[in-house]
């Protein structure tokens, strides 16, 4: 294993998460002896306690009645597992300021894969110090550890119980075994039952497992202890499940001085886009969607997202797309970490870089489409293409701006220049059935029909035949304006035919 390619994982543990969350909601609880309680087998027991309760002799698992006898002033709240989990999820999202690989871990803790990004924050020690200082600012008490594997970090965090424990990279398996040898067995992340039976055999430390034969261990205690041991020692890989999808391409920068101006953000953005585009070029991809995340001093994050109509990896056009939206970013008290990620990518071959739109155009047009699309929505930009349908509203398809042109436009049919998206009901009078109307009324104004062509009967494809056919007439009023009216339903049928205005001609 080469040193440079090694993973570095940080475990962030919140030993007092439950009570600290309760205090955040009810600050007056801060000075109280506090426990979160839940019902277990018909009895109320303490599920979590705060520091005062612990010092006062209370422990998790204690029956509430006993706890009250020891600490008569005990304040209790029922456990809200969903809220505790939601708090942890929020913390994981917050931690994406350091790395996109941030996920939940067992026992009120988080895993952060900080491989290759610690240097952005001045090294592992500085990163740990920065992270704990910020979390303490939120009223939390975090303990952290950094090691080569999630298992080792988790164990070190609980064994040392310090704000920052750093296990130096393991050079070999022996090295890893030595590092974890003295750690208590419970730090191996075992389930309660497995831990109980191992302890009952007199095993106290992780090192105590080393001399045991693996097969015997697996047969006696199922696969769990062997798997956890292998994970902690790095014999098998343990992936972290990130809280948010991790983009394939990301660039981030931590700012020594929080950014408070648009110019500052722009400078950072340009540098990051430059890095991102180089990474995209290396992998032969282009971005279809990019996200800019600005992590502020107060722990909040502003995100803006832009899309492109085709894969792109050019700094300037992408920068301009963001520039249109940068005013939406309120720096607040300052932005400390800026990250740009390609949240959707597509393959982009070098040949495609010089593509042409049919009938001319080029990269300039693509940039324009992107800018219009980000302001109005890409769905509003279309290159109308013909579609095989008799129904006028279905005869045009909004093809994507750069899709290949296909199909022929039917010739020889009189069609209006403007087609109402929803046909407008009008009052019309015809002397004879199947004749064009003599006049029609729209918005209370009546129009005298001077000339008319029709009917042209149009109906939907057989699988759409849920309505009766329409008879269309092209109608000219006495001022020369032309309308496209249709009648639905036939005279003499069960229902009275209805008239609609569907379009206007030139």
């Amino acid at each position: 294993m080469k040193k440079g390619h090694k993973k570095r994982i940080m475990n962030v543990w919140f030993p007092w998460l439950v009570s600290e969350r309760l205090v955040r909601r009810e600050p007056e609880l801060a000075k109280q002896v506090l426990a979160a309680i839940e019902e277990r087998r018909g009895r109320l027991v303490l599920a979590a306690v705060n520091r005062r309760a612990l010092h006062g002799g209370l422990k998790t698992g204690m029956v509430l009645a006993d706890a009250r006898a020891v600490q008569p002033t005990l304040q209790t709240r029922f456990v809200n597992a969903a809220a505790d989990r939601a708090a942890l999820v929020r913390l994981a999202n917050w931690a994406t300021r350091y790395t996109p690989w941030a996920g939940l871990a067992e026992g009120d803790s988080l895993f952060l894969d900080i491989s290759g990004c610690a240097h952005l924050f001045g090294g592992e020690e500085a990163l740990a110090a920065d992270l704990t200082a910020r979390l303490k600012g939120f009223g939390l008490t975090p303990l952290t550890a950094i090691a080569d594997t999630p298992g080792a970090a988790w164990a070190a965090c609980r064994a040392r119980q310090r704000e920052a424990t750093i296990l130096q990279p393991f050079d070999s398996l022996t090295d890893a075994m030595t590092a974890l040898k003295e750690f208590p067995l419970p730090t191996l992340r075992l389930s309660g039952d497995t831990l109980d039976s191992l302890t009952s055999f007199g095993l106290r430390t992780i090192g105590a497992l080393y001399p045991l034969e693996r097969r015997a261990l697996a047969e006696r205690f199922a696969a769990e202890p062997v798997r956890r041991l292998d994970q902690a020692l790095g014999v098998v890989d343990e992936p972290i499940s990130p809280i948010a999808p991790v983009p394939a391409h990301e660039a981030r920068v931590a700012c020594l001085e929080p950014l408070i101006t648009r110019e500052g953000i722009e400078t950072g953005l340009r540098t990051l886009l430059d890095q991102l585009c180089r990474s995209l070029t290396q992998s032969g991809e282009g971005a279809r969607q990019l996200t800019l995340a600005c992590h502020r001093v107060d722990g909040t994050t502003a995100r803006i997202r832009v899309g492109t109509s085709r894969p792109s990896r050019w700094v300037e056009p992408l920068f301009r797309l963001f520039a249109e939206k940068l005013d939406e970013v309120d720096p607040g008290f300052g932005i400390e970490v800026v990250a740009v990620s390609a949240t959707r990518v597509e393959a982009l071959k070098p040949a495609q870089e010089n593509w042409q739109v049919k009938g001319g155009g080029g990269a300039g047009l693509a940039e324009l489409v992107d800018r219009l699309g980000n302001r109005f929505g890409f769905g509003r930009i279309a290159r109308p293409a013909p579609r095989q349908s008799w129904l006028p509203e279905r005869a045009v398809e909004d093809a994507a701006p750069f899709a290949e042109a296909s199909g022929e436009w039917p010739a020889g049919r009189e069609r209006p220049l403007r087609l109402l998206t929803v046909p407008e009901p009008v009052e019309a009078m015809a002397l004879v059935p199947d004749d064009p109307p003599m006049q029609f009324t729209r918005h209370g104004k009546s129009y005298r029909v001077k000339a008319a062509d029709g009917p042209e009967r149009l109906e939907g494809e057989w699988w759409l035949k849920d309505e009766s056919p329409r008879d269309y007439y092209q109608i000219e009023d006495d001022e020369g304006r032309r309308y496209w009216l249709y009648r639905q339903g036939l005279y003499g049928g069960g229902e009275k035919p209805r008239w609609f205005l569907h379009g206007v001609f030139a």
């Binding site: 045009v396 403007r418 000219e476």
Partner: protein
């Protein structure tokens, strides 16, 4: 004064009026002699802003102008719609080739529309931009004119009524429907009253334009007919 001196003077006047480039500035002949005679250099100056106002006929007029432009310039056309009712099968009747037409629908606010038109004019990859806009003030319209000149893109501002300012446009047209010429039974060929309200370097006038399957034909107020297809009978 000989004719070359006249040409030089004309040129100087155009520069003063700010039509931009002098003689040799590309123009789009409409193919209707009476109208082309009223336009500077015998056609609609390209790379500038023109206003077209009126009812449905104005949309048809724009489509026909763009169709003629497409024959000269293969770059795509962008049509910026206020609503979402532009219907391509109807536009093709006026010769528009839909393969190279891009549309953006639902730009209902004038500020958004102005932004979009200006962006499109600056892009330089288009032959023309149509913007359906109600009104543009002097500053906005001046900006568009500059962008059109710089980008070499022709801009048509299409709206229902001619309202206020926008005096910086190269020309203003008012196009309204007229009763069609009788063509046997039923609806005849479209007939428009086309009025050149204002034109820098040209002279205001009005015509009756008939659209037949062979293209368009202009008739002057005085009844001067250019070349009429044989099969059109003129009432009166």
């Amino acid at each position: 004064m000989n004719s070359s001196a006249v040409a030089v003077l004309r040129d100087r006047i155009r520069r003063i009026e700010g039509v931009g480039q002098a003689a040799g500035h590309p123009v789009l002949p409409l193919g209707m002699t009476p109208i082309d005679r009223a336009l500077p250099e015998g056609g609609l100056p390209l790379a500038g802003v023109h206003e077209v106002r009126g009812d449905g006929a104005a949309t048809g007029f724009c489509a026909a102008l763009l169709a003629r432009l497409q024959d000269m310039d293969g770059r795509p056309v962008l049509w910026l719609e206020r609503g979402n009712d532009l219907y391509m099968p109807g536009l093709t009747r006026f010769g528009l080739k839909p393969g190279a037409v891009l549309t953006v629908s639902g730009i209902s606010r004038d500020t958004d529309m102005l932004w979009a038109i200006e962006e499109a004019l600056n892009c330089g990859a288009l032959s023309a931009v149509v913007g359906e806009i109600r009104a543009a003030d002097f500053t906005a319209s001046r900006r568009l004119q500059l962008a059109a000149e710089m980008g070499g893109v022709t801009c048509l501002l299409l709206g229902e009524t001619a309202r206020g300012g926008a005096a910086t446009a190269l020309s203003r047209w008012q196009v309204t429907s007229m009763p069609s010429l009788p063509d046997g039974a039923g609806v005849g060929w479209p007939c428009w009253r086309v009025e050149l309200v204002r034109c820098r370097g040209g002279r205001p006038a009005a015509w009756t334009v008939v659209w037949s399957p062979k293209g368009w034909t202009a008739i002057t107020e005085a009844g001067e007919v250019e070349i009429l297809p044989d099969d059109i009978r003129i009432a009166g």
